[in-house]
């Protein structure tokens, strides 16, 4: 190959490499981890990022795989990365969490962040900033600014993981591998049968103006061992929209409570039930002493539809206590006995750990699942 051809090949390779990077005119990625972070960025793969025009808007797709290293000494159980794009969605935030990890000191693991920005054609470049919101360790200690309440959320996932691993181990011990297989197959069947629900949510006001609103009372499911008892609840319902949920609870425990969530179940006119989400109650003012009552308010409006786009006509509402955080930071979640209730088992999604373990069974078989359970 002549020198001129070599130079030409080098020029083409350089041009291709530049084209593969997100253009600073359209989108740019910045990763900001604190200097004392227990996570360090090993590499970032920016493949597949592209820009396209959609009508009068510009869509920028950024697809990246970050490789992170546990540069601390404790085992990592969960990570939450905050994603900010202030020019695109001022006030809007996003995050990506990876729970159910078991990353030892010095080990690396991948986190994928795939996102799309939509902005008017004539606006300037968009900057996406990825930062660390929190890292949860094996001993439930936490590192990070916790702007998105990652500490509580990841602690709940870790407690669910321990509960579900313990349950599957007890099944393995009591009924052997075949009993474990039956349990996992039943879980996969529940995951497959659970009706998918699409949600649109506006912070205040109504999502659409269709139809007149009616006030609907909540019915409540009793969860054994729950520290709180739901007393009453109402929400405004119109067609497939619900908003302004107000739920009153009583603290039946002997400890003060600083946060709780009420799971929200929707029944449509065909009698099908869906878990629409949860109504949280928190804030600096909330300190629910034993025997006291408090009200959780959902000021967002929800519009619900079943995939692909069929509105769910809301006929009835039900609620149950799904999690409680005490003033000392300890967290209560329903135990497996409570989840054996057929209605709850049908409605509640699998925990992240149950999802991981059943996926492991599906891809690698029973022996791999048994080996994984024995690691803990």
């Amino acid at each position: 190959m002549s020198t001129r051809n070599r130079l030409l090949v080098l020029w083409c390779a350089g041009a291709l490499a530049l084209a593969a990077q997100p253009s600073p005119q359209t989108g740019a990625f910045r990763i900001n981890f604190p200097a004392d972070s227990p996570l360090t960025l090993v590499s970032a793969d920016w493949g597949e990022s592209r820009t396209s025009a959609l009508g009068g808007a510009l869509a920028i797709e950024l697809r990246t795989a970050l490789i992170l290293r546990n540069s601390g000494v404790r085992r990592i159980r969960g990570v939450t990365l905050q994603v900010l794009a202030q020019e695109v969605a001022p006030g809007g935030k996003a995050s990506v969490s990876v729970p159910s990890l078991d990353v030892r000191a010095g080990e690396t693991f991948p986190v994928r962040i795939d996102l799309r920005l939509l902005q008017p054609l004539r606006s300037g470049g968009a900057l996406v900033e990825v930062g660390l919101d929190g890292v949860l360790f094996e001993d439930l200690s936490f590192y990070g600014p916790d702007r998105l309440n990652s500490r509580r959320i990841m602690t709940v996932w870790e407690l669910e993981a321990r509960r579900d691993r313990q349950y599957l181990k007890s099944v393995l011990e009591a009924q052997g591998p075949e009993g474990l297989r039956k349990e996992v197959v039943a879980s996969l069947a529940r995951q497959g049968e659970r009706a998918g629900l699409d949600v649109q949510m506006a912070r205040r006001g109504r999502v659409t103006a269709a139809g007149a609103e009616q006030e609907r009372q909540f019915a409540f499911l009793h969860v054994p061992g729950a520290p709180l008892e739901p007393l009453s609840g109402v929400a405004q319902v119109s067609g497939n929209e619900a908003r302004g949920a107000r739920l009153e609870v009583l603290n039946r425990s002997s400890r003060p409570v600083r946060y709780f969530e009420i799971g929200w179940i929707i029944r449509d006119r065909q009698g099908r039930e869906f878990l629409a989400g949860s109504v949280p109650a928190a804030g600096p003012a909330l300190r629910l002493a034993p025997g006291q009552k408090a009200v959780a308010v959902q000021d967002a409006a929800l519009r619900l539809s079943q995939r692909p786009g069929q509105p769910v006509a809301i006929d009835a509402l039900a609620g149950f206590v799904s999690q409680v955080e005490f003033a000392d930071g300890q967290i209560w979640i329903p135990d497996r006995a409570a989840l054996s209730d057929a209605r709850l088992a049908r409605l509640l999604p699998a925990s992240p750990e149950e999802l991981r373990l059943t996926d492991l069974y599906r891809k690698k078989g029973l022996a791999a699942l048994v080996a994984e359970l024995k690691r803990f």
Binding site: V96, P99, R112, R194, Q200, M201, S278
Partner: protein, 188 residues
């Protein structure tokens, strides 16, 4: 205020509207949240439909497309041969005379579209106020005034959605990493 017909919005959402219709609808949806919502729904449905299609194996679509284009060109060329006549040759000057006004209209449309719009009034009471989070096929997004930040998830993944307070979560197993991944979008 006259809203575009649904058929026009659907053609616009699919990128199949004519230039002039596209300009008109584009201008309208910039400040009409209801129509912008319909356009988003059409786009979402279109993406979902595309996601459901499975191409049959063994079909070279690129070659097929090239053959179709070639056939169309052959048809057009044949049509031109039939149309050519001594009378038509004598009236060739009519073509530029017809094209020129069309070009002027197109240029005027382009100029009008580029002209800055007056300040957009506050959204009608029926429209979503402020930030909206929503699930689309393949993503969850936070949107405000036509700008959106969406976190994408694999279409093939079994995704569980849930709303908590002002946030929306999508939970799935990432087939590439093997890890459970939970993406969130927040309105606050």
């Amino acid at each position: 205020m006259r809203h575009p017909k649904e058929a026009e919005l659907a053609l616009y959402a699919g990128g199949e509207a004519s230039f002039w219709a596209r300009a008109r609808v584009s201008r309208h949806v910039r400040w009409c949240a209801a129509c912008a919502g319909l356009v988003r729904e059409f786009r979402g449905l279109r993406e979902w439909t595309r996601g459901q299609e499975e191409l049959p194996e063994g079909v070279d679509w690129v070659q097929l497309a090239a053959e179709m284009k070639a056939n169309i060109r052959v048809g057009l060329a044949a049509g031109q041969c039939i149309e050519r006549s001594p009378e038509a040759a004598g009236l060739r000057w009519w073509r530029p005379a017809l094209v020129l006004p069309v070009l002027l209209v197109v240029m005027a449309g382009w100029w009008l579209q580029s002209w800055p719009l007056p300040a957009v009034p506050a959204a009608a009471p029926a429209a979503p106020e402020g930030l909206v989070v929503r699930a689309n096929p393949g993503s969850i997004e936070v949107e405000q005034n036509g700008r959106a930040l969406a976190l994408l998830h694999p279409r093939s993944a079994q995704v569980t959605l849930s709303a908590a307070g002002g946030s929306l979560r999508a939970r799935y197993v990432d087939a590439e990493t093997g890890y459970v991944t939970i993406s969130h979008v927040y309105t606050q």
